[in-house]
């Protein structure tokens, strides 16, 4: 295992989230879950990070900020999208300002679903991200994550991409 996969530092960007995912993400650092066992440190600075964790439904206003922050994370890096908002827009899907998933702005490597995801689900997502970091450190090309086929409310905007309902998934 490469050293990169042994010390994945995460930087967390709240991209218009309701803070539910952010609170659950910080719960990962508590003694109950203690992600620092895997060398994970929650840094406040994208320039020090290896994993960019994004929460919330991206909108037209902060898409530019998200792209800027992603560009500041040194390669090789991994993007983890937390919560259903990051994949479809969640309860905000169909709003006039919601782009419908952060994968429209930056490449996403891991989607963690839930509203908010449990810390166990987040740790599972980080484990996947660590595997991807290891592969990227070895110079392998890794596939982008498939978008989870879950949407909480149907879209009302006719021109928006129609999300697939959960029955078909």
């Amino acid at each position: 295992m490469k050293a990169l996969a042994r010390s994945p530092w995460i930087c967390h960007y709240n991209c218009n989230s309701c803070n539910g995912c952010d609170i659950e993400l910080l719960a990962c650092l508590t003694p109950l879950y203690d992600v620092e066992r895997f060398g994970v440190i929650n840094v406040g600075n994208p320039k020090h990070a290896d994993i960019l964790v994004v929460t919330g439904s991206v909108n037209h206003r902060n898409a530019r900020v998200l792209k800027n922050i992603y560009d500041q994370v040194p390669k090789p890096n991994v993007v983890v999208a937390l919560g259903v908002c990051t994949s479809s827009g969640g309860i905000f899907a169909g709003c006039y300002n919601i782009l419908g998933g952060i994968d429209k702005v930056i490449p996403v490597d891991v989607f963690v679903v839930g509203c908010p995801p449990k810390p166990e689900a987040m740790i599972d997502g980080f484990a996947k991200a660590i595997g991807l970091l290891d592969a990227k450190a070895k110079g392998l090309s890794t596939p982008l994550a498939e978008k989870p086929r879950i949407c909480m409310v149907p879209t009302v905007r006719p021109e928006a991409e129609a999300p697939v309902s959960s029955e078909k998934a």
Binding site: A3, P31, D34, R37, I41, D50, A137
Partner: protein, 284 residues
């Protein structure tokens, strides 16, 4: 010690100092985690962190900043070499101060306000701890009649017996040097959100690795100086240094971060008075 060539000592010191320093940092992270009821990272986590940082992409903001990162490391290496060769302690002090000044200048030559604030606070940290360092060197001079580091070993009795209050003041000053709470105002190793890492905010990848490597050298320097307070027995010296380092970790976990002004007021009152009264006591 006499028949070992000097270049070999220098190479050994430069190779083993960061290895020991990183190991001590690993102990610190493990102990802190245990204090907080967590399992904590593996003991060798600082080695992985450093190897990772050197394998990352190099993002350069401006070349002067990178030059200061290298100078920070170079002056700290000079400090380690001078200390290991038992050279003039005043020179050790100046080389050490130059290293910190390079870090401050590196933080000042970028436009990030967090980096600038971190640099300002680092200057205040220097204002707070440098008098203690100078008083310690003066105390050693009165004790042995010379500024040479190697003469500490010729005394025949431990320095701690004549300079106990200066040792206490040095442990407090060492806490500032190693960015421990309540003094970690410029950059913090635990609270990464405080000032968004302050003075190191604009360094990334291998350049952050250089700063971390320098920090490992610094841990070695502080640990080594604490060990030199008991020179007659190796194990007693190691025990003394471990006790001092353990106290730093304990206080780090017990206290909250306080303000820069409080730090200067505190350092210029209690530890300074401790060191001065020790000087008065041993003055012949």
């Amino acid at each position: 010690m006499v028949d070992v060539p000097q270049w070999l000592i220098i190479i050994l010191a430069l190779v083993y100092a960061p290895i020991i320093g990183l190991f001590l940092m690993g102990i610190e992270r493990k102990l802190s985690a245990r204090f907080q009821g967590r399992i904590g990272p593996p003991l060798f986590q600082p080695y992985y962190d450093l190897m990772k940082l050197f394998s990352k992409e190099a993002l350069v903001l401006n070349r002067v900043q990178i030059l200061y990162a290298y100078l920070h490391l170079a002056f700290m290496m000079v400090t380690v070499v001078l200390l290991v060769l038992g050279q003039d302690l005043l020179l050790v002090l100046f080389a050490h101060a130059f290293s910190t000044i390079c870090l401050i200048l590196g933080g000042m030559c970028v436009r990030s306000p967090y980096s600038r604030i971190g640099s300002h606070r680092k200057i205040m940290q220097m204002v707070a701890y440098e008098p203690i360092m100078i008083l310690m060197v003066i105390g050693i001079y009165i004790n042995q009649g010379s500024f040479m580091g190697r003469d500490v070993f010729l005394l025949g009795k431990p320095m701690l017996l004549t300079l106990p209050l200066i040792f206490v003041a040095f442990v407090v000053a060492g806490m500032i040097k190693l960015d421990k709470s309540p003094f970690d105002v410029a950059t913090s190793h635990h609270a990464h959100q405080e000032l968004v890492k302050g003075i190191t905010i604009e360094y990334s990848g291998p350049f952050l690795g250089i700063i971390e490597l320098t920090f490992a050298y610094e841990v070695f320097v502080i640990f080594g100086v604490m060990a030199c307070f008991w020179t007659t027995n190796l194990w007693a010296g190691l025990g003394l240094a471990l006790a001092g380092y353990g106290t730093m970790i304990l206080v780090d976990n017990l206290t909250a971060r306080l303000t820069t002004n409080w730090m200067v007021r505190y350092m210029w009152s209690i530890p300074l008075v401790l060191a001065l009264s020790n000087l008065i006591w041993i003055y012949k």
